[in-house]
Symmetry: C2
Subunit: 304 residues, 2 copies
């Protein structure tokens, strides 16, 4: 591997979002699962992004990826508008309501990996339809560690493909409600064990402000979330968490209980930054000292 | 201090409960905040219990305290019936509905501490009315570390007395919803800081299955809950947590960031046992090896 080889391929949605919170509003800001995940991962590793945008996707957005050092060989630019989403956070940010969704060029998205991405040792598959996720998995050559996100929509509408994805991935991530929904089991530990039996070596349950739990075949890791005093926009927190996790794992170069725990901790830390501002604003003003300082603070908060 | 000196005074309600869960039901079982707290604390220290029961409180109940080694000099037996509560857990245990409450002898409860309790170095004030909590605080001689629980009812109906209690206690514990309600602040970190400014050196926010957060003036400790696969009856989990915490703190003999963190860990562990059976059944069949084994397992689950 040379210095510029892609270590992490990130595949998912790219969107132009309009986000309203109880205190503020931003129009036409960069969003989408792969935007958050790629920029977060790029803090730790060489990242290649696979996604689709329209001709309305100006340099203002492209520059965010470029400045983060994200490789864009896998970015497709199609005639038409970029995927657009608008939503509003209510009830002090703990409830999100979608106002509008326009799929636009994302409707016919077919993820195609550049050759250099096919041998990446780490892969993050954001929350796109399971058949597209399978299409990506089929393009990977050699041994890859794959982290896959999913959502209630696919559990309801594409379970067969989702089951096939779950069989093939190394780590499945979903939130606690989705884990219950996918397995029909209310106890989260039993639900995680059921999912582990279906294929993945690791199941990562996200619980938002309450942290996350990593279930592996012979290990359980409980992680509280870094406490956030100034929550501005929760959009993309889960994707940022997953992206930083896979990036940190790629930086460590191996997958062990220890490297996984450290990577999840970095996922938590980077996600704690991203929600302090809209879109990716906070991620692109970070520096590694701030990351390490908060990581150290966090470690002090969880030791007995 | 001699070997038999009371190290922890526990004051609160004692009840005879009828509890129904989606799978099972138990009639006339021992309950009440001080029952759970005292028996939990007694795993670690010499505990004296202050409470009131009626003449229906048979040896079947008394023996649970006695076998746990709880001192009963502070237990008042009054003509009449013991406090009775019945409730049902719905929605897979995450929703509790009260079916009936009969205050009985608890209605005129006036906690009076035996002389030997007044010099106890640690005190747990369970969730009784703030004026009774003040009455207990006024009886304590010398330097005591007090842990005080409260609830939404007192926040709504007895705020002035509650404010006075909060001013005087060392550690206030309440759940996240109550913290928001008491302060009017939705961000839990800001809410905790507001409460710290009102007097206590420590505020412990309980989040049920999501763990707890200890906020001290210069320290924050995030604790995930031990993951429970076989939840049978959540009644008393919070009081067990608080009781084991104060007991473990008393055993350590000092209050520092380190001893507090360890004590909270033991609170978490003992609470994880109590919910595995109805009433105090699981607590009285435990042994210290099981406690230490789970504590060790838990520590492995939270280390990075």
């Amino acid at each position: 591997m040379t210095e510029n080889d892609i270590q992490v391929a990130v595949v998912g949605s790219i969107g132009i979002d309009t986000v309203e919170t109880p205190k503020d509003k931003r129009v036409d800001i960069l969003g989408g699962s792969s935007s958050f995940a790629a920029v977060a991962a790029a803090w730790f590793a060489n990242v290649g992004l696979v996604g689709v945008v329209g001709t309305d996707f100006t340099d203002q957005y492209m520059d965010i990826y470029r400045n983060a050092g994200v490789d864009l060989a896998g970015l497709q630019v199609k005639e038409g508008q970029t995927f657009r989403w608008s939503g509003v956070y209510e009830n002090n940010m703990n409830k999100r309501r979608t106002l509008s969704t326009e799929l636009n060029v994302f409707q016919s998205f077919m993820p195609e990996l550049p050759e250099a991405y096919k041998t990446a040792p780490f892969l993050f598959l954001g929350n796109i339809s399971p058949d597209l996720q399978l299409h990506v998995l089929n393009q990977m050559n050699g041994s890859v560690f794959s982290l896959v996100d999913t959502m209630d929509l696919w559990i309801n509408t594409a379970r067969k493909d989702l089951d096939e994805v779950v069989k093939r991935v190394d780590m499945l991530t979903l939130n606690d409600a989705e884990a219950r929904q996918y397995t029909g089991e209310d106890n989260i530990i039993k639900a995680a064990k059921m999912m582990l039996e279906r294929g993945p070596a690791h199941v990562l349950i996200k619980k938002g402000e309450h942290g996350s739990i990593l279930f592996s075949k012979e290990d359980t890791f409980l992680m509280s979330a870094f406490p956030i005093e100034s929550l501005v926009d929760p959009t993309g927190a889960g994707d940022t968490f997953a992206g930083a996790l896979i990036g940190a794992l790629a930086r460590s170069g191996s997958v062990s209980h220890e490297t996984l725990r450290e990577a999840i901790m970095y996922g938590n830390i980077i996600a704690s930054f991203v929600v302090e501002d809209f879109s990716l604003n906070r991620l692109i003003t970070l520096d590694m000292d701030q990351i390490e300082e908060r990581a150290s603070l966090f470690c002090d908060m969880i030791c007995i």
